[in-house]
């Protein structure tokens, strides 16, 4: 199965980002394909490399970046990101900024979309 995932909330503040990550790991473990992960609304905050959580806590943007390194298409919505100060200079590797049209493509080219938010 080919899946796309939409993340609507930022890291740490809401569990949405963790649920999405845990879901995606389980999907990969079952051999499914992730067509793409799209970050929208406050979800764009997931992509900042500047986050620096306590040592004994998960590092959410690093975790996403590692998924991106596996070749998963990971996109932050440009309009939502501009409003919130997520720019190319603070972006973690393997996530890129693009338009909502990419979400349309992710939906179109996947068997399912799963949305995580608040």
């Amino acid at each position: 199965m080919k899946l796309s995932v939409l993340v609507l909330e930022g890291p740490y503040n809401h569990e949405a980002s963790d649920s999405a990550y845990n879901f995606i790991q389980a999907a990969l473990a079952k051999g499914h394909t992730i067509r793409g992960i799209f970050f929208y609304d406050d979800g764009v905050y997931n992509a900042t490399k500047l986050m620096d959580p306590p040592q004994d806590e998960r590092h959410i943007s690093k975790r996403w970046s590692e998924l991106g390194a596996k070749g998963i298409d990971m996109i932050v919505c440009v309009a939502a990101a501009k409003r919130r100060g997520i720019t190319n200079e603070v972006l973690v590797p393997n996530i890129r900024i693009s338009g909502l049209g990419q979400l349309a493509s992710m939906i179109d080219e996947a068997d399912r979309l799963v949305t995580f938010g608040d």
Partner: protein
Amino acid sequence: MLHTVNKSPFQNSALENCLRVAQKGDVILLLEDGVYAASAGTARSSLIEQAVKQHTVYAIDADLKARGLGNLIKDVRVASYGDFVDLVEQHPVHAWL
């Protein structure tokens, strides 16, 4: 279809809203704070007690454990994230955020 609910039934109307629209046979997955609805003997237990008559209801195991919930409403099934993936494979999904 698969409906996901991630809100506490004590604070938010999402589960009631979902149950009003869900069709007989639809599957309901409780996750995040939504799993509090699976707890037995609470002021909101009746929502899921009714729901299980028409729907298969799952609750994410890791979310139940995080919240210390073990005394669940009869017929609620405990699901891993892998089970969640299987449910998504079987159904289009609507998230009642």
